[in-house]
Symmetry: C2
Subunit: 694 residues, 2 copies
Amino acid sequence: MEQYLSLFYGLSFLTAALAFAYAAYLYLWVKRQPLSNQKIIEVAALIKDGANTFMGREYKILAIFASVIAVLILLFLPSPIWNGDFVSNLSMALSYLAGTILSAIAGKIGILVASLSNGRSAEAAQKGIKPAFLIGFRGGAVMGLLVVGCSLFGVAAVLMIVGDASILLGFSFGASSLALFAKAGGGIFTKTADVSADLTGKVELGIPEDDPRNPAVIADNVGDNVGDVAGMGADLFDSNVAAMVSAIVIAQSLAGTGFDNISMIFCYSVLGLLSSIIGIATARIGKNGNPTRALNSSTYVTTAVYMILTAAATWLIPGFSWRIWAAATVGLLVGVIIGITTDYFTDDSKPIVKKVAHASQTGPAFTILSGVSYGFISALPAMVGIAISALAAYKICEPMGEGYAIFGISMAAVGMLSIVGMIISNDAYGPIVDNARGLAEMGELGEDTIRIADELDSAGNTVKAVTKGFSISAAGLTVISLLGAFMSEVNDALAASGKELLTGFDIMDPTVFFGVLIGAVVPAVFSAMLILGVDKNAQRMVAEIHRQFREIKGLREGDPDAKPEYDKCIDIATTGSLRELIPAGLMTILTTIVVGLIGGAKAVGGFLLGNIVSGLLLALFMSNAGGLWDNSKKYVEAGNEGGKGSEAHKAAVIGDTVGDPFKDTAGPSINTQITVVSLVASLLSGLFAVISLF
Amino acid sequence: MEQYLSLFYGLSFLTAALAFAYAAYLYLWVKRQPLSNQKIIEVAALIKDGANTFMGREYKILAIFASVIAVLILLFLPSPIWNGDFVSNLSMALSYLAGTILSAIAGKIGILVASLSNGRSAEAAQKGIKPAFLIGFRGGAVMGLLVVGCSLFGVAAVLMIVGDASILLGFSFGASSLALFAKAGGGIFTKTADVSADLTGKVELGIPEDDPRNPAVIADNVGDNVGDVAGMGADLFDSNVAAMVSAIVIAQSLAGTGFDNISMIFCYSVLGLLSSIIGIATARIGKNGNPTRALNSSTYVTTAVYMILTAAATWLIPGFSWRIWAAATVGLLVGVIIGITTDYFTDDSKPIVKKVAHASQTGPAFTILSGVSYGFISALPAMVGIAISALAAYKICEPMGEGYAIFGISMAAVGMLSIVGMIISNDAYGPIVDNARGLAEMGELGEDTIRIADELDSAGNTVKAVTKGFSISAAGLTVISLLGAFMSEVNDALAASGKELLTGFDIMDPTVFFGVLIGAVVPAVFSAMLILGVDKNAQRMVAEIHRQFREIKGLREGDPDAKPEYDKCIDIATTGSLRELIPAGLMTILTTIVVGLIGGAKAVGGFLLGNIVSGLLLALFMSNAGGLWDNSKKYVEAGNEGGKGSEAHKAAVIGDTVGDPFKDTAGPSINTQITVVSLVASLLSGLFAVISLF
């Protein structure tokens, strides 16, 4: 029944090409903007080099890792090469590599344009908020367009060539393994540098943030880029691909039931990308406009355009179902609502941030306790939202026939992720203007310019909280549909070996329950390993900073001839982050395999559930608590509750330091951890279906 | 086939009577010990009065609450009075009341003997560690014996009279609702007082802990008793009853399958109590002995005796099965192992505490980050232990026939809780010797005595961490079996209304999944509400302390005529704790009902699972992180990492303050929250089976 599929392959390539072309246009536009301040040029070059050092090293290790995995896939997946067919195994290995490479390219170019934009945005801030905003936003939009373009292109190309959705799981796993490196590795990098710079600079020496004497300051700026631009991009590339792939895997099992489901997935993704392009193109800010409002209104434009376009497509094309449109729309609307409620907990014009700031007057313990408490509560709306959207999507699509209910959930995930191009643009805007603020200070562009840069930066922080809530929720719905994909894969394997099929995962079955309990503790241990990794790595970097201040004469006093060795700090952050990341990543993958070998496919189903549930809870808690502490500190610094230098400020700074690895390392990496585990489970479903202790 | 049941009813009553008699003996023994120091007598009386004030107020509110619930039960449960039979409803309402009353009596007497023991233990410490230890331990043992005696007596009496296990759920719910008040209310009380006393005394005025000038000092000592003696006692009474009741409910559905299952439950519980009596009676310490070792060795004695006695009973009595014995033994051994691994994370002679203390040198943010990380990791062994014991018990009993697998899990819970008499004794020992330490200081008994009291107190802290791990795990296994009881109740209701029975709860069913997500977030929100409650309440008390220091002349200077108004502080802690507790309790119960009305029994099954899984994770995390921070602070105070007054010490104190409500308010209350929700679900199963939106 997939009569329009070739048409939508074509449209996917076309839209991806359009996105690439528009990205290229924006890239060139950014590059054309003037940059003349020597100091800024110099520092921006250092940031760019630092980012390249990290990415180069990361990609080198990743290349080794990916090669090993590719060989393993070639040998064992989808079935051992000695009893399967060589072509399938080769296809899967190659699509795995394609997933890593496309994601890596998007990340690399995103970083490149971010490091072009930051200095130019800083210089443009001298002329006002309007040009500075546009440079920051368009720089971020390049990343957004590339990510969605690459994922649409990749999924369509792989499926068109191999024609089998199971092979696509390899592509998705490639995207995930890159995301794990980019997000968790980048998260450790950025917080190592941030924490070390703050501890030695602000606390020990009393010099301002972004002071060029501090050897960690460049690493700190690099960190913003590798963590938020490349990391978040890879994370959402991963979620977006996983959402499409799990929907396609489920749709494949629905073949011949009268609907053009796979065409519909591509059609909606194409329209999502088009809507994002329209949203990006219409982003505007007035001369004295509010940047937060500008970013949000582009998101609303994208959402509205998407809903209209998909409704039109559903109306025009015979094999499309209104029920599925409704499921996708529910997903999208819930995503937007979750973003808004996240904002309530982390925006400093709302009561929660003020309460935590007020609690800081009683001392740091109360900053922590109130932040932890509100962080826990903040998980409620998102969890309820995900629960309701999954239930609604399921119930909406259930009447379409067997298997459609779970397909409805996967389409809710596709719907939620349809505006991901816009979301990434907004998110990548953040580190660009954050860097711009630092550069404005280092380039001594004057107070007015710094004030404008500050305003842009603050909007970036607010929007970042929203996009984090969004990306966690999107991952949540995606992994629910991956759970469906896992079951469908397990049943294929069981059918192939003539065994009884699974009808579901019953929690009263103790192998399932066993899996649930183990799965639930994995995100907690994973987060702990990453946070301890930041801690260990920061100790190394602090020692290096102390060494430089001791050994480089005149550095502390600000002698212009005394140059700090920025690259040493970048080196420590790079090496350390990759070293700390690998055990955490291996732990999650090996646990999945061990659980599967002990309890079989049922235990893995439970494991995925436990992992999703506690992963979502902890990710929301940590991201929101971190954002809350960050903004409480800013609120105090703005002169409230005693202002800078007060006891409340000291307490708020401690809260912010605790929140840093929560919100930028552990919290957002959990998304990726969940997806990786879900994909490993699906890929190895054939193994778990056959071999297990119980 | 329950041919021995009447025998075991008789033995249950007899053993309970023996426990009561032994408790009475120990009570009188403690009372006979000398107490002559006037200052100690005076302060001990204040503590006793304070505890009575709290318990009186608490029980008054509880009486109103319990009456309302009893009336609701009378009207609606097990089925609405207009279509059910009056006798069943009356029986359930009365057994509900019996559950609350028995738990309340045990708590009340426990507090009474604790307040007799503390001063006597302090005075005995002048003669050495041996007599002081024995008084502390025997005082605690009274509580242990009473709790287990009351639960065994209550369950046997209710079942013998009504003959229907479903009615027993009412008894268990009575125990749970009391536990919610005692544990969560007591937890808020104790931490309000502790935090306020520390903040005003140690931090603001620089006077030592337990300084009698501080108006909060008596409230602080009262808090130890109401939180740990009455609260922990009620908590374990609740778990113990719930474990027995859920096992009986499941066993009832296995009637006629050839085994004397209900007799076996009572037999094992009788032998557990006997073993605890033997363990308590043999508790000894040498003249210069180590109190931690003495406490642990009694636990091991109890465990060994229990295993031997139950093996003998299983061998002798024809209707008993070795498989079930094995399941109970697995539960017990895993409980002990979990206790030992918890100790690894919180004992200051082990590496983790030292690492957190070392991290404190870098500042409070690192105290928090490392504590949070190790707290997360510490959940791993317990979660794996619970998972394995549930799986093992299930697999061991599965060959016995349908329904036996889940019965195996419930017997693992019964086995784990069999030594609960010993566990409570050890736990109640803690606050007694903690108080004794304070009294030794206030009574100016000299440095040697204080050193001995310190040693006893430190053993109390170590053992407390272990018993917390144990009680959380026991609650974990219990609620798994409650999940089984819930399904069995739902199916009774479905069968009665002629509907199709449930075969399980499939996580691929979105109503189940919906429940899982909502259930998972409830413990997080519940904890947050309790922590914020402590925060709000402490602010009130700090204001009161400030008022007293301002208005009572000579108080600050230590003028002997200036008496602080201790009762005002006790009043604030009491009123506030009950006021903060009620919304949290209602939130959990109402959420359960709303989920049930939206998604029906399936959603509730999922809800319970989510609740159990995230509840266990958070309870373990918070209890262990709190214990870890507490002991890190003590480790620094013992002269390490800079010792008292150093920056590391300041950081460690902040960690300890954060950890206080974690480990003494939120963490251990989650147990009770889970049990309450599970019982509400079982009680309302008839409703959920019939009415729901989806």
